[in-house]
Symmetry: C2
């Protein structure tokens, strides 16, 4: 059967470099469902041209003509459309809780990751993207990218503290999904693989429950994320 | 059948005043399961004397001789022990996600609630408890209770911001548990009913999705929490 699922996936100036946390959440979700898919590398400034400009952001999924954007909506779509394949949620209560966890991660973890590597992200982008990225992010932060980025080590403690709720959970369960990985895992994993692809490493002790779990996530789906290109 | 479940429940100098977020989580859980129980009002300085001093904290549950402490462990115990009664989790993935949400609420929401009402909490306690409470909390905060409490309105924006992940979720689902209430709801509800019993109100706009959901929680289980005594 031909591959009918296309994922528009954010890329760097090296189009094989894929780092977007939101796109990674979807790649892991597609692999979890066991669905064949192809990715289309997409620069920020190319998003307006894909699928008639229907979405201002990637990921965008085209499943045989059905277009879905936003990682969470894509995950819900995949479970609804392919109920016989392994569940990403498995229970209505997981959907709701995962939505809270998504917003926790984006609001709490992502600003810290920004302080760690916002200039590094800029540096891996294609020139046209760099101009867009600098303007939009400097407006958001109210400072230059060079000022905003204080680095991995300067923010390692803040990251560690912010990860506490996940760390406690992973002290009791192998996965944020409980006995096996669910979309809850891919949410936080997406955040952290973003850091690792761009900045090269997770600034956590090796025996931190989050670091141990992260390695477990890297092994998932034939090492999908372990094999991906890293900038640093 | 005689009531065989006892919940040791934190109380004020008015022993009918019950405000502990951790104990409220368990009261709602017991009501959710439809279990008969009686509460034993317990001051901070009385905890060491209950059930042979087995726990340093309340809630403590005695279910026909089985002693369990910690609200989360009690909820898991109730689902394990009474699987035929309405589920508090319903799925392994909800247990894990709820554990993350518990630690998010305790770490993110509770410090803000402390700044809102730490002195007010002190004031509702019995004299012996007041001495213990002042000493332990002033050590934790590094300042006097009078300095630490800056009030409801001064911290309303911080609370509103911190509740964002729950607000977004409740824009999509009636409950943090999805289609119906689960222990996930009782976690955050426990935090907020603590504020309302001690400080008198939730400083959120009436049409805030969290405020609307909070009213919905007050209606649960024959208005259990709506009927409870309030200090202010």
């Amino acid at each position: 059967m031909p591959v009918t699922i296309t994922l528009y996936d954010l890329c760097g100036t090296d189009r094989s470099l894929r780092f977007s946390p939101h796109c990674w959440r979807v790649q892991m979700a597609l692999a979890h469902k066991g669905l064949d898919y192809e990715t289309v590398p997409t620069a920020f400034t190319e998003i307006a041209a894909i699928e008639d400009g229907r979405s201002k952001t990637v990921p965008v999924l085209n499943d045989n003509g059905v277009i879905v954007s936003e990682s969470f909506d894509i995950a819900v779509y995949l479970d609804d459309t392919y109920p016989d394949l392994p569940a990403l949620f498995g229970h209505d209560g997981v959907v709701a809780a995962a939505r809270l966890i998504l917003n926790w991660a984006n609001a709490t973890i992502h600003p810290i990751l920004g302080r760690m590597m916002i200039k590094d992200i800029h540096d891996v982008l294609a020139p046209a993207d760099q101009a867009y990225f600098r303007q939009s992010r400097e407006k958001r932060f109210g400072k230059t990218l060079e000022e905003a980025q204080t680095g991995l080590d300067a923010n390692a403690e803040a990251l560690s503290d912010a990860l506490m709720p996940a760390r406690v959970t992973l002290g009791h369960h192998d996965w944020l999904g409980g006995g096996g990985p669910l979309f809850t895992d891919y949410i936080l994993f997406g955040s952290l693989i973003w850091l690792v692809t761009v900045a090269g490493r997770l600034p956590l002790p090796e025996d931190d429950a989050v670091a141990v779990w992260f390695e477990r996530c890297l092994d998932l789906h034939d090492g999908l994320a372990r094999k991906t290109k890293r900038a640093a």
